[in-house]
């Protein structure tokens, strides 16, 4: 039998490429927030995952309220309508954390590691607030049309035996991510405020000598990072489901993405998101059926042909993190050293 390329490609598309793109977009948005906070405030904010959970929790609660009122967006999820509220809530939480915790350590010029430890405290507080309000359980808040193309429709359309399903939330995730990233880069490259943020990140002392107001730069950074966190979290929750613990776990792949790309480099965070997401998926995917389409029957593997069980998917981020820190600590885009 000849290799069956169309079926193999569709199979991989369905299980790796499509979910990978959505996951990569979610990680990239999260990593962008981490990298911006690091660039401006010069510490690794470990509370970012739980800030994401906090924003998403607000999106879930507001979605439920909107659903109760009968408000919706038709085929699109109601969560999209709740997103602005989630963004406001996450920004308020980040600004409050800065005012109550981080600002003090900045004023006394603490070492970065002290700020990192303070962010662990903020992480636990946000963590507690989220569990207190919505509980630790899985919450589903996705509604609207679930699929753009169902596997069955795809099979009928193409006459292939393998199906390719594309979920509305996957498409939405990628579309929203593209718009948000484009807006962010326009802001950083073209606007006065965006340039002043880059200047502050580049050379704090010189930025002060130029009359750039550090308090304003810091506040805007928190608002942007929190907005990105709320957007990434809500998209992730719509795509999968919302469970506070999962968001805490996302911290590792998001940090891996930020560091692979070069921390402090927005472009690197996006590249890093893709690298981490696709590494995770390609390493944990079972290739048995894929090889069945490509190899002669006699060579077909008897096992699952899976390199790593999905239970160990976080190990992938961890390995990437360790390798990058060992061999190219500045990351792909020459960011700062942690």
């Amino acid at each position: 039998m000849l290799p069956d390329l169309p079926h193999a490609i569709v199979l991989l598309g369905n299980y790796v490429v499509v979910p990978g793109l959505a996951y990569a977009a979610q990680l990239a948005l999260g990593a962008l927030g981490i990298t911006l906070v690091f660039g401006i405030l010069r510490f690794a904010n470990l509370a970012h995952g739980d800030l994401m959970a906090f924003g998403t929790m607000v999106a879930v609660l507001v979605t439920w309220q909107f659903q109760a009122w009968g408000l919706g967006l038709g085929p699109l999820p109601t969560g999209l309508l709740a997103l602005p509220v989630a963004i406001l809530a996450a920004s308020a939480a980040a600004l409050a954390a800065d005012r109550l915790v981080f600002r003090y350590y900045r004023r006394v010029h603490s070492a970065p590691i002290v700020l990192v430890m303070a962010s662990v405290g903020v992480m636990f507080i946000l963590n507690g607030i989220v569990r207190f309000i919505i509980g630790p359980d899985d919450q589903s808040f996705s509604d609207g049309a679930r699929f753009i193309i169902r596997a069955r429709e795809f099979r009928q359309l193409t006459g292939l035996e393998e199906g390719l399903a594309i979920k509305t939330t996957q498409c939405l995730t990628v579309a929203v991510a593209v718009v948000v990233v484009a807006a962010l880069f326009w802001f950083l490259q073209r606007t006065r405020t965006g340039k002043s943020m880059r200047a502050y990140s580049d050379n704090e002392d010189l930025a002060l000598l130029s009359g750039i107001n550090p308090d304003r730069v810091v506040a805007i950074t928190w608002i942007i990072a929190a907005s990105l966190a709320a957007i990434a979290g809500t998209l992730y929750g719509l795509d999968k489901s919302f469970k506070p613990f999962t968001y805490f776990q996302l911290l590792l792949p998001m940090f891996a993405a930020a560091i692979v790309g070069g921390i402090g480099q927005p472009l690197g965070a996006i590249a890093g998101g893709f690298i981490v997401a696709f590494s995770e998926l390609t390493v944990t995917y079972a290739y048995k059926k894929f090889l069945h389409y490509l190899l002669p029957d006699a060579w077909e593997p008897t096992g699952l042909a899976q390199l790593l069980s999905t239970d160990y998917k976080f190990a992938v981020s961890f390995v990437i993190l360790v390798l990058v820190l060992l061999f190219r600590p500045t990351g792909l885009f020459r960011g700062r050293l942690l």
Partner: protein
């Protein structure tokens, strides 16, 4: 009374005083140069004038107003500009963006000022879209001075602007200072290359252990046998 008057400054970074009654003044359209051996407190004096150092005693007056208690940012508002010795450009930003950041406080049209900077340093016009970190040492210094000029300052302060550049670049930078002086700007700089710097100085201050040792016109200091022997290598 001079345009800038820093009188009797004493102070340091917490420990022992580095400045011990140092006095410096400069008028508009003049170049004043602070020279002296390593550790004499040249850079510290510059920082003190700019408010980056808490003074124990003494005062700084600009255009007759006491600014001793003002923060560096507030001094920028008053028309002072400072070019630090190191890390004086935004390396990841383009030349043009560096100049734009220099003018951050201004809300009016800055294109005229940018044109004047480009006229002063023509090479920057060609490199305007290049990140400042990719430029040569001399060109970086030009960006750093250009950035400081973007606020249209009345007093330009430079901390060892020729440190680490070639003699040719140094001559060129000093020639530009003379051009800037012609615009009626007061220039105060600390310099390690004492002989060349005193050559363009209207006033020279020889600082030793944070005190004024000799103060005179640049030419007079260059001619003084004691100064030559002790500080200019004969």
């Amino acid at each position: 009374m001079s345009f800038l008057e820093a009188r009797n400054m004493t102070g340091g970074y917490g420990g022992a005083d580095i400045l011990n009654g140092c006095t410096i003044s400069v008028d508009r359209g003049e170049i004043a140069v602070i020279v002296g051996p390593n550790g004499a407190g040249k850079s510290t004096a510059m920082k003190a004038v700019f408010g980056m150092l808490q003074l124990r005693t003494g005062s700084v007056r600009l255009a007759g107003t006491d600014i001793t208690r003002l923060s560096p940012q507030d001094r920028v508002h008053r028309g002072m500009a400072f070019v630090p010795q190191t890390s004086n450009v935004f390396v990841t930003m383009t030349v043009q963006e560096n100049l734009e950041m220099g003018a951050f406080l201004r809300r009016d049209d800055i294109s005229g000022t940018m044109e004047r900077v480009f006229a002063l340093f023509p090479v920057l016009r060609d490199k305007r879209q290049q990140p400042a970190g990719e430029l040569s040492g001399g060109q970086r210094q030009q960006v750093a001075i250009g950035r400081a000029l973007m606020t249209e300052p009345v007093l330009l302060m430079l901390d060892e602007p020729t440190a680490g550049v070639s003699p040719m670049v140094m001559d060129d930078l000093f020639a530009r200072m003379i051009e800037i002086r012609r615009e009626g700007i007061a220039i105060l700089m600390a310099e390690q290359n004492a002989r060349q710097a005193l050559g363009i100085a209207d006033t020279g201050y020889v600082l030793v252990t944070g005190e004024n040792r000799y103060t005179d016109t640049g030419a007079a200091l260059l001619a003084d046998p004691d100064v030559r022997r002790a500080f200019l290598g004969g």
